[in-house]
């Protein structure tokens, strides 16, 4: 009987204290790159995930990421800076460039270019020879 009461207690406590379960946002962009957010969509970050390293998603570009585009060589990203748990500052837009093939270490973030202003982004884009047809094809409108 005691065991049963303990079992009921242990089963009921997690139900009473139910917290957030899954990620609020989880969307694969390409390869191991994902848009993910815990609890709230404005916390969306660009993350890297390898299956053999547990369930965690490592953030490459912190919240709030709201636009992404990519081709075979590069990924371009737009972000409104957000210091959790505050809402994102939509007056500021940061730009990022990620090399997808070479020169990028997702673990240390070496090779990640940004945050850049729009002017710096356009200049860097020209310098790297990123074609004009690479646009922000993935847009989270509610976060824009």
């Amino acid at each position: 009987m005691r065991t049963m009461k303990k079992l009921i207690l242990y089963l009921s406590i997690p139900l009473l204290f139910v917290g957030c379960q899954g990620l609020a946002v989880k969307e694969k962009i390409i390869d191991n790159y994902f848009l993910v957010a815990a609890d709230a969509s404005e916390w969306t970050s660009l993350s890297y995930h390898e299956d053999n390293e547990g369930a965690n998603y490592s953030s490459l570009i912190e919240a709030t990421v709201f636009a992404v585009g990519y081709n075979d060589n590069y990924m371009i990203v737009k972000q409104h800076p957000c210091t959790l748990p505050n809402p994102p500052d939509k007056n500021i837009t940061n730009f990022y460039i990620l090399p997808l093939k070479e020169g990028m270490n997702w673990r240390t973030k070496n090779g990640l270019m940004g945050p850049l202003t729009e002017q710096e982004f356009n200049a860097k884009r020209k310098e790297l020879g990123i074609p004009k047809d690479l646009t922000f094809t993935k847009l989270l409108k509610n976060l824009e």
Binding site: L16, F17, Q21, G22, L23, E27, A38, S47
Partner: protein, 315 residues
């Protein structure tokens, strides 16, 4: 039509409050004052707290503390026969000009006590100490976002000296953590002192100790040492309840966002969590059954942010 009027020139109410909101606070006895004469810290948008919210809090506090103490006393159902306990069973709320106080009355090992716990700034910690041990070392007012870093650093140094971080397990301070989490759940359900986006901070205390060995943190720690990964998201999932092994704090926090910063010879973990209707309602990853936009913007079940910070020596 029973509201009181506030005159901004003398900064006083024009009529006396019908209630002494917090008998433990001497400022409460000035019934013409607004929010304990401390409007920089408190607000009182409604001046009232719903009786249903009060009853809800009372029911949760009563139920949880009864179960805990019954368990501690060999599942003896008659509280009069308990020989020890953290406190029992009757909790209620009172409105107190910007501070919604939760009160508990009970019996701890034969010694009667009463205690109050204000869901706000610094009130929560002191009051909850009557339920067990003070858990909240730092609790800036909701929404201020300020942290007393001197105190954090002092606590960090004390942790290192005492090696407290090595002693945490899922069952350390289980009962007091369970009661604290019950209060937080009640505060979210009732909306007491938690405005939209309002935050609570926990720094190097019993609550954060419970998170040191959470599976998501263990993975984050390993990734930091292996790859220097400094931030990420740790999903909880349905299996999270099993992995939490009955830890009420881990179960309450669930999925979280984390950041790791190296400060001198220590690592500081910052965990951010939001309790909201959209996260509360079970949902698969990446799809809200209850979307963000449906979340109440204030009052009961509105968004409740928590930030948990703990430090540990670098390996």
């Amino acid at each position: 039509m029973n509201g009181r009027f506030y005159d901004p020139i003398p900064a006083r109410m024009l009529s006396a409050d019908n209630y002494v909101q917090d008998p433990g606070n001497s400022q409460s006895y000035n019934r013409y004052a607004y929010v304990f004469n401390n409007p920089m810290k408190y607000t009182d948008p409604s001046g009232e707290i719903g009786i249903l919210a009060a009853l809800g809090v009372a029911a949760i506090v009563a139920g949880v503390s009864y179960l805990i103490n019954a368990g501690k006393n060999g599942w003896e159902i008659d509280p009069r026969k308990w020989t020890s306990g953290d406190g029992v069973g009757i909790g209620f709320t009172t409105n107190s000009a910007g501070t919604t106080n939760l009160y508990g009355f009970g019996n701890a090992g034969g010694v009667s006590w009463t205690g109050g716990a204000g869901i706000n700034g610094d009130g929560f910690g002191g009051g909850l100490s009557t339920f067990g041990q003070a858990s909240y070392n730092q609790m800036p007012s909701a929404g201020t976002g300020s942290i007393n870093w001197n105190s954090v650093n002092n606590q960090r140094n004390a942790d290192i000296a005492n090696h407290q971080f090595e002693e945490s397990s899922d069952f350390d301070n289980w009962s007091s953590n369970a009661v604290d989490i019950a209060f937080m759940t009640a505060a979210w359900v009732s909306g007491a002192r938690i405005p939209n986006g309002g935050s609570m901070y926990f720094v190097n205390d019993e609550i954060t100790n419970a998170l040191r060995n959470a599976p998501g943190i263990v993975q984050a720690r390993e990734k930091y040492y292996k790859y220097e990964t400094t931030s990420g998201d740790a999903p909880f999932g349905a299996s999270g309840y099993w992995n939490a092994k009955g830890d009420p704090v881990e179960s309450f926090v669930g999925t979280f966002d984390y950041e790791i910063i190296k400060i001198d010879n220590t690592l500081q973990f910052t965990i951010t969590n939001r309790t909201s209707m959209s996260s509360f309602v079970p949902h698969p990853q990446g799809f809200y059954i209850w979307p963000d936009s449906w979340n109440p913007t204030s009052g009961p079940f509105s968004n409740f942010n928590q930030t948990y910070i703990f430090t540990e020596p670098i390996r």
